[in-house]
């Protein structure tokens, strides 16, 4: 019972006529408030559903159909499983899945570890913490496309500063964005530069190593778990950075699931297979969510429903 309804119940009971049962009034009030609540949430929920839930359902339908692109649009020509069959037998999809998972997990772990270390050091900083915080948030607030262009310039094979430095250190002149492994490492460094300071800001107030291990970490375990799950799942839609920096290349070595889906849909106009890639990506994220539903529940329940 909420404070509002119990308060009105009390006032009814406190009147001169205690004979009147105080039960019905709060109930009516409760119903009225609940209706009002749905009225208040309806605009937001309708917009969210219209742009997320319905299109996802439509994506699933498209992925299960033979889609023919016509001059004026496209048509769905009957149920088929061939789009998914194509995925399971295509090395492109497997490679993209492998790259996305591997890239996401490695960057999230590195960002979390370094970010926490930075936070633990900054916690002991005496002066200028406000400015430090603003500096930590600056790379996060930058447009990812800008980050991609900046690092592509740094890695440039003929006039990039990374090329000069590597050459000076005796590593020769590797074509950074033109060779698979260096390209992946290059992307990861750009990602780590943008996200690690943000993680450090997020971990602010970690209160020293001892307190951190003994008190903060155990206390925050569900929160950290949620943060990690969140970041991994969010990073699963990886698109901007590799799309601008490498275009998924060299070859397909940095092609994420989102880039694969985008290219299939809007470059090759293969709507069926494209929808299948998009749907499979969403499905994997959904599975990740369901696997961590317990953590999510704890999060919602914490506020005492």
């Amino acid at each position: 019972m909420t404070a509002i309804s119990s308060a009105s119940g009390q006032s009814a009971a406190g009147q001169v006529r205690p004979v009147v049962p105080p039960v019905p009034r709060p109930d009516i009030n409760r119903k009225r408030l609940a209706r009002m609540g749905w009225g208040f949430s309806a605009p937001a929920l309708v917009v969210i559903a219209a742009v997320t839930i319905f299109p996802i359902v439509y994506s699933v339908i498209m992925s299960l159909n033979n889609v023919t692109v016509t001059g004026s649009g496209f048509s769905l020509d009957g149920f088929t499983f061939s789009n998914y069959n194509l995925l399971l037998h295509a090395s492109l999809w497997r490679d993209a899945l492998f790259f996305t998972v591997y890239y996401t997990v490695v960057t999230v772990i590195i960002e979390l570890v370094i970010g926490t270390c930075i936070a633990l050091v900054l916690e002991r900083l005496v002066a200028g913490r406000g400015y430090m915080m603003a500096l930590l948030l600056l790379p996060w607030s930058m447009i990812t496309v800008i980050n991609a262009e900046l690092w592509a310039y740094i890695y440039n094979g003929t006039y990039g500063v990374a090329d000069y430095i590597l050459g000076g250190l005796g590593f020769g002149h590797p074509v950074i964005l033109g060779t698979p492994t260096p390209a992946i490492i290059g992307l990861m460094i750009a990602d780590i530069w943008k996200t690690t300071p943000f993680v450090a800001a997020e971990m602010d107030g970690a209160s020293g190593w001892y307190t951190f291990w003994r008190i903060t970490l155990p206390l925050l375990r569900p929160t950290i778990a949620l943060a990690v799950i969140f970041r991994v799942l969010q990073a699963f839609g990886l698109f901007d950075l590799p799309y601008v920096m490498t275009g998924g290349g060299p070859g397909t070595s940095t092609q994420s699931l989102a880039i694969l889906a985008y290219n299939a849909l809007f470059k090759n106009l293969a709507f069926g297979p494209g929808a299948a890639v998009a749907t499979s990506t969403a499905l994997l994220v959904l599975l990740g969510c369901l696997a961590s539903l317990r953590v999510f529940r704890v999060q919602v329940g914490q506020e005492g429903n």
């Binding site: 909420t2 509002i4 609940a34 609540g37 208040f40 949430s41 605009p43 937001a44 929920l45 917009v47 969210i48 742009v51 997320t52 299109p55 996802i56 439509y58 994506s59 498209m62 496209f74 050091v121 002991r124 900083l125 406000g130 915080m133 603003a134 500096l135 948030l137 790379p139 607030s141 930058m142 447009i143 990812t144 496309v145 800008i146 991609a148 262009e149 310039y153 740094i154 003929t158 090329d163 000069y164 300071p197 450090a200 800001a201 929160t223 949620l226 943060a227 601008v244 849909l265 809007f266 709507f271 494209g274 969403a282 999510f296 529940r297 999060q299 329940g301 914490q302 506020e303 429903n305």
Partner: protein, 279 residues
């Protein structure tokens, strides 16, 4: 141990200051490269010169005159401001309801919102594109405002709900006894208390809209409706990437969001901790 007095040069040279310095340099060096390159004349851009040989504003004027960066900036501003306003209004109403009103099924609603907020945008890309084409909304502001609003609302509702829960119930009851309407109660009693939550939700929404790329690339490809990220990504010609122009435009695009984040930094950080852990 933590309060040990440091004497002599140890006061300035110690683990904390050195690590801080390393962190600052790690963040600032690439940023320096971005700003320095934006002022370099064309010849300097083709070698890794540490300082520009002469400061030139040519890249900046080229971004606005040679390319249409002014249009992109205006488009980004319109889409971002409209979305942020919408998200705050709809998010406040929903956050208030889901936080304080006795609705059945709000637990499930919150979990679903949490799941939607991590959903990859690519999953809705094709159907949304077809829908927008059907209703003739491709290359328009609303083509971005609508999906941005939907994708930023779940997080905003979460943040605002968490703030609303912390407001004492008595204040609201006073309003109700006075006979104020429900909307008025939210406006004049709940909203002022939830102001930090509004700042947090607002700054996160603004940043997300300002930086979004995939929807903008897919839905608004015509020059007149491109936003900054798409504009900058497409500056490159087929043979030569005009890095000087790109970086000049990048500096102009980063300054406003940098100032906002500087002003609202407290709310970004508090959003991070209170959005996740509260109470």
């Amino acid at each position: 141990m933590r309060n040990r007095k440091r004497v002599g040069w140890h006061k300035y040279v110690n683990g904390v200051t050195i690590s801080t310095l390393v962190t600052v340099l790690f963040i600032l060096i690439p940023l320096y490269w971005l700003v320095a390159s934006s002022f370099k004349p064309p010849n300097d851009l083709n070698n890794a010169r540490l300082f520009p040989s002469s400061f030139s504003g040519g890249n900046y004027s080229n971004a606005f005159v040679g390319y249409d960066f002014g249009i992109y900036f205006r488009n980004s501003l319109i889409v971002t401001l409209a979305t942020t306003a919408l998200v705050l209004v709809l998010g406040t109403l929903a956050g208030y309801a889901l936080g304080r009103l006795p609705m059945r099924g709000k637990f499930t609603t919150m979990v679903i919102l949490l799941i939607i907020s991590v959903f990859p945008a690519v999953a809705v890309l094709a159907p949304l594109y077809l829908l927008l084409r059907e209703i003739g909304w491709l290359n328009s502001y609303q083509a971005l405002i609508l999906p941005y609003t939907a994708f930023n609302l779940p997080f905003a509702i979460w943040i605002l709900r968490n703030y609303m829960i912390g407001i004492p119930k008595e204040m609201e009851e006073t309003g109700r006894i006075d006979g104020a309407s429900a909307l008025r109660t939210v406006w004049s009693i709940v909203l002022p208390q939830a102001l930090p939550g509004l700042f947090t939700a607002g700054i996160f929404c603004f940043t997300a809209c300002w930086t979004e790329f995939l929807f903008a690339l897919t839905f608004n490809s015509s020059n007149n409706f491109r936003t900054i990220p798409v504009g900058i990504a497409e500056f490159g010609g087929n043979f030569q990437v005009p890095y000087g122009t790109i970086f000049a435009a990048s500096v102009v695009a980063t300054v406003p969001i940098g100032i906002l984040v500087f002003i609202f930094r407290k709310f970004v950080v508090s959003g991070l901790t209170s959005g996740a852990v509260k109470g």
